[in-house]
């Protein structure tokens, strides 16, 4: 990059520009400025995003104020808009998906990184990356035609029979609702958890394992007590990446959640998520209040992601101080 032969810049009458050119000749300065602009643009884009959501929802914000967060009614004809059922649906589906995806994903990552032969691990990694790249509408179609009938005919009746005393598993089972949406989401986010966690586990230094083994630990003990804690921060990172995807997923969720803005204790009931509501109603929102309420929903989703990310950071800080491993794997 940097050129050592300096052309006739010294002839310039402007010493300031000569100074700049001289420094620029080193290349470092140019690289610094350019990369700084790139880094700053990330912040700028985020701020602009919030700003435009904020401005775009002015009418709805003024009309509803804080009650937007606690109202359960969404009635475009009456002009009453409340975000609570959508927030609830978004959180419930995300939690269900994480409950399924985290154990499965991390378990698979441990197997691939620590136990499986390298060839198996690399081949499977190829398929996992492939899964991560499948468009979400495909998962939605899979959900409607495979998972929904399966849930309705087998899984939900079985859950009702065995765990029906818990309110979570009561009520009519249509195969469409929070639980199905959570499962479809889980299928979608597992590849992220596996892929990132595997990389993190693989990057744990060899001496950590060897030290554990030399102290008489079994293979599993060294994996579970040394390698996994060492990689904990990175694994957490993979989970929060997956959570972010689950919160914002639109297409696959709207196809299987039932799109009913309601709060129900039962996981079999149909619900609605923020992203799905925006995608469904924005095109045909004819009154300004309706479209602004949808933009405010977008703002709420942003806020939700922001808060959850904050919690995630705190969790990582807390665990890395307590844990045995260093913060970065």
């Amino acid at each position: 990059m940097a050129t050592t032969t300096s052309p006739a810049h010294g002839a310039s009458p402007l010493s300031g520009s000569r100074h700049f050119v001289n420094r620029a000749d080193h290349g470092d300065e140019i690289a610094r400025v350019i990369t700084f602009i790139f880094a700053a643009s990330v912040v700028l884009i985020t701020l602009l995003l919030v700003l435009s959501l904020w401005q775009g929802s002015a009418l709805a914000r003024h009309k509803f104020g804080f009650s937007f967060f606690v109202t359960q009614v969404w009635d475009p004809n009456a002009g009453i808009f409340g975000a609570l059922p959508f927030i609830y649906g978004t959180l419930v589906t995300a939690v269900v998906s994480l409950l399924i995806a985290v154990p499965l994903g991390i378990g698979a990552a441990i197997f691939l990184a620590e136990l499986a032969p390298a060839r198996v691990s690399d081949t499977l990694e190829f398929f996992i990356d492939l899964l991560a790249a499948v468009p979400s509408v495909i998962y939605g179609v899979l959900g409607i035609f495979l998972i929904v009938p399966l849930m309705r005919s087998y899984i939900e009746p079985a859950l009702k029979k065995t765990l029906g005393f818990i309110p979570l598993f009561q009520g009519p089972a249509y195969g469409i609702g929070f639980l199905t949406a959570g499962i479809v989401l889980a299928v979608m986010i597992i590849p992220y958890i596996i892929s990132v966690s595997r990389e993190v586990l693989l990057s744990v230094p060899r001496d950590q394992r060897e030290a554990a083994l030399s102290l008489g630990a079994t293979r599993w003990e060294s994996t579970w007590k040394v390698v996994v804690p060492f990689a904990r921060t990175g694994i957490m990172g993979s989970i929060f990446l997956a959570l972010a995807r689950a919160l914002g997923e639109t297409m696959a969720v709207t196809m299987v959640i039932g799109n009913t803005p309601q709060i129900s204790a039962s996981l079999f009931a149909s619900g609605y998520s923020i992203a799905a509501a925006i995608a469904n109603e924005f095109n045909e929102a004819s009154s300004p209040l309706h479209s602004q309420a949808l933009i405010e929903l977008g703002l709420v989703l942003f806020l939700l992601t922001f808060i959850l990310n904050g919690i995630a950071r705190l969790l990582i800080i807390a665990t890395s101080q307590r844990g045995s491993g260093t913060a970065n794997a």
Binding site: F145, G258, Y272, A279, F282, E284
Partner: protein, 342 residues
């Protein structure tokens, strides 16, 4: 979405302009329900008028009204007429009005999936409203069974399915229910998206059809064309004259003919629950929205030419795509109204 649609239109417009600088380019956007016939019309019209380039983007009725009001497109299209507020917004922004031109007719039909029932069911208006209000919850409810003597209906819970996305189909369906049920009018009313009292939401006709097909004891509503093309079973609905009518091209046109006598000058009319013995009650026009004044005379004449062609030769093409034709009386009125576009 709206912004994206706007950008897409601009890009398409530019591309069209660059591609043939001598052609006149007209941009429109709106309803997706008539998109197949509009696409065919435009292609056929352009074959005869090679100097005119018409671009139509099916971004939804609400989007069409927004775009034409903002002036980003030359004409809009909608499955529901613009309401008074929207007309006023257009008038305030531009200083002149916007006109509605019916193009074809569509209908919405109740489709169901009841294991063991293969008969074609009859639905009274009260039954449909009751089911969608959540008051009728069993298939063997007297309100349904009374109109279907001889059919053995199960005592199972009805699974109600509606559209989750804002759509003209929902508008027509809720417009009908609001006319036949006072309860519906006060509690829910009509609209492209409403606060549904009960039911599961499916995205698009295919979403509703998918849920109905997969869920025993369910009922949903889809566009007639979608039901015909996908061979879905659908029921008859009792019209205002008291006959149970199955939706088909003739019964939909009959509904329009029934309404033609009382057709207002601005064509903003709902023909759900229309009079006439053979009229199918859940029918509707779909409209082009054309501003009253154009600054570009060539563009105005080209668009008027297209509408004229559409009302004459164009009407012969609609039935092949399962749309119902406009009645002759309505066509005559529209040709007269076209003179108001200046």
């Amino acid at each position: 979405m709206k912004r994206f649609a706007g950008i897409a239109l601009v890009v398409f417009g530019l591309a069209a302009a660059l591609w043939a600088d001598s052609t006149l380019s007209i941009n429109g956007a709106g309803a997706s329900f008539p998109n197949p016939i509009y696409t065919k019309w435009i292609a056929d019209f352009q074959k005869k008028n090679t100097s005119i380039q018409i671009n139509y983007q099916s971004i939804g009725s609400g989007g069409g009204i927004k775009q034409v009001t903002e002036g980003t497109v030359d004409f809009g299209a909608s499955d529901g007429p613009m309401n008074d507020d929207q007309l006023k917004a257009f008038q305030d922004k531009h200083g002149f009005g916007i006109l509605h031109f019916p193009t074809v007719l569509g209908a919405v039909v109740p489709s169901y999936n009841i294991p063991g029932v293969n008969a074609e069911l009859n639905f009274t208006p009260d039954a449909l409203a009751g089911i969608y209000l959540g008051k009728i919850t069993k298939w063997n409810d007297p309100a349904i069974a009374g109109a279907n003597s001889g059919v053995k209906l199960p005592a199972d819970d009805i699974v109600v399915v509606h559209r989750s996305d804002g759509s003209g189909t929902s508008y027509i369906w809720t417009d009908y229910l609001a006319k036949v049920s006072g309860d519906w009018k006060t509690k829910v009313n009509k609209g492209a998206s409403v606060n549904w009292p009960v039911g599961l939401g499916g995205k698009g006709n295919e979403g509703v059809a998918g849920v109905v097909k997969n869920t025993p004891d369910s009922i949903g509503y889809v566009e007639l064309i979608y039901a015909i093309q996908n061979k879905m079973p659908y029921g008859k609905v009792r019209n205002s004259a008291g006959t149970f009518i199955k939706a088909d091209l003739e019964s939909v046109t009959a509904a329009a003919a029934g309404a033609a006598k009382g057709m207002p000058e601005d064509f903003r009319v709902s023909i759900t629950d229309a009079p006439g013995k053979t009229a199918y009650p859940i029918s509707s026009f779909t409209w082009l929205l054309i501003p009253q004044k154009f600054s570009d005379a060539a563009k105005r004449d080209a668009l008027k030419g297209f509408v004229k062609w559409m009302l004459a030769d164009g009407q012969n093409e609609v039935e092949a795509l399962s749309y119902a034709k406009l009645p002759k009386e309505v066509i005559a009125m529209e040709l007269k109204a076209l003179n108001n576009v200046q």
